[in-house]
């Protein structure tokens, strides 16, 4: 008959293995492997840190928020290490998580992009702070509920209105300054 302590150990290991696999999959889904970190290393580090925390205090409650902090600190540490040793430029940020990369950008388009980026930065700076944050979060890919949570907006609907008005304002301003049409 197996030792009860071994059974507990085996069950915990299975739980950590499943969780680690999910962490690794999400790191790849969100393209964080393109920032110089190895998802397998991060996953292993997360598991080690969680094991240590569990062994430090077996009787202590292990909250989800604590686990989230362990993952966050592991990923941030890995990103900082990658940043320190990075000799190559960061990968192109155009890709959505899990999407296929865009075609290579030519010199003409690159020059146009720089001009448009400067225009975008200028127009964003002109938008009032209250609307700027929801817009920039939206442009970074956050969903409306996520924007509401992050920016402290009462509801997703309120966030939608702020983003909608802000984007309209941004597009109009970009058009007025001659940076072209972004709504078509």
């Amino acid at each position: 008959m197996a030792n009860p302590a071994d059974l507990v150990q085996a069950r915990l290991e299975a739980l950590f293995r499943t969780y680690g696999a999910k962490v690794q999959a999400l790191l790849l889904t969100y393209g964080l492997d393109k920032h110089g970190i190895d998802p397998a290393d991060v996953e292993q580090e997360v598991r080690i840190r969680l094991w240590r925390a569990l062994e430090r205090d077996r009787s202590g409650a292990f909250h989800a928020s604590y686990i989230q902090r362990v993952v966050a600190s592991t990923v941030i540490d890995a990103l900082r290490r990658a940043e320190v040793r990075a000799a190559e430029p960061l990968p192109d940020e155009d890709e959505e998580p899990g999407s296929v990369g865009e075609a290579p950008v030519g010199p003409d388009r690159r020059a146009g992009d720089v001009e448009q980026m400067q225009g975008l930065a200028r127009c964003l700076a002109e938008i009032p702070e209250r609307r700027r944050l929801p817009i920039t979060l939206h442009l970074q890919g956050f969903a409306l509920q996520e924007i509401a949570d992050l920016a402290g907006i009462p509801s997703a609907e309120a966030a939608r209105k702020l983003v909608s008005r802000g984007l309209e304002e941004l597009k109009v301003r970009l058009r007025e300054l001659g940076y072209g049409e972004f709504d078509e």
Binding site: P4, A5, V8, L12, L15, T18, Y19, V23, L26, L27, T29, Y30, G31, L32, R58, S59, F62, H63, A64, S65, Y66, I67, Q68, R69, V71, A72, S73, V75, I76, L79, E83, L90, D92, E93, D94, P97, E102, D113, Q116, M117, L120, L133, T136, L137, H138, L139, Q140, G141, F142, D149, L150, A151, G152, S164, L167, L170, K171, F182, D183, E184
Partner: protein, 183 residues
């Protein structure tokens, strides 16, 4: 077409442009802030700074979005660990209870054995006392015999000496009486 669909068409170019604009930004955000942002538990006094930094950094934005998606799995892991530890603790308690029950049974046997031993000692003690009592009349008999012998000695002494001395005393007394009567 709804609002999201329309905007997703526009957003793509604007989003791409904005992410290129902010790609070099790596704000110094700590893990606590990022985890709090992902959980929607940012403190009010940190909200603007942290949310602004996340909005200005595609990498941090990705980490936050990843953590938000991971939240359910983190809750499942926390629940799984708690359940495993609770089951282990329950088994430990069961083993401990069994040990206590065994100890109690052993204690009862011990008490019973002690009582039996006490009874045995009492019986042996009682028997020994009785045995001593049954043997003591013989000893008395010996002593009495000695006393009888002594009394016999006395009797014999009396029979040997008494009659012989008594008449002599009476004889003396009579002899003396005779003297006084005659005188």
């Amino acid at each position: 077409m709804n609002w999201d669909t329309v905007n997703s068409m526009n957003k793509t170019s604007l989003s791409a442009l904005y992410r290129r604009l902010t790609s070099a930004n790596t704000p110094a955000l700590d893990a606590e802030d990022i985890a709090a942002a992902a959980d929607g538990t940012l403190a009010d006094d940190r909200r603007e700074a942290v949310a602004g930094a996340i909005a200005a950094s595609p990498v941090h934005a990705r980490v936050v979005r990843m953590l938000r998606e991971l939240r359910t799995d983190s809750e499942a892991l926390a629940f799984g660990i708690a359940r495993t530890e609770r089951d282990a603790a329950h088994r430990r308690h069961e083993r401990s209870d069994r040990r206590i029950a065994t100890g109690r049974r052993y204690g009862q046997v011990t008490r019973w054995a002690t009582a039996m031993a006490a009874c045995l000692v009492a019986v042996v003690g009682f028997w020994t006392q009785r045995h001593v009592q049954t043997e003591s009349p013989r000893a008395h008999a010996v002593a009495k015999a000695d006393r009888i012998f002594t009394s016999r000695d006395t009797i014999s002494h009396l029979t040997m000496d008494g009659p012989r001395s008594k008449p002599s005393v009476e004889g003396d007394r009579l002899f003396r009486d005779d003297f006084s009567g005659g005188g």
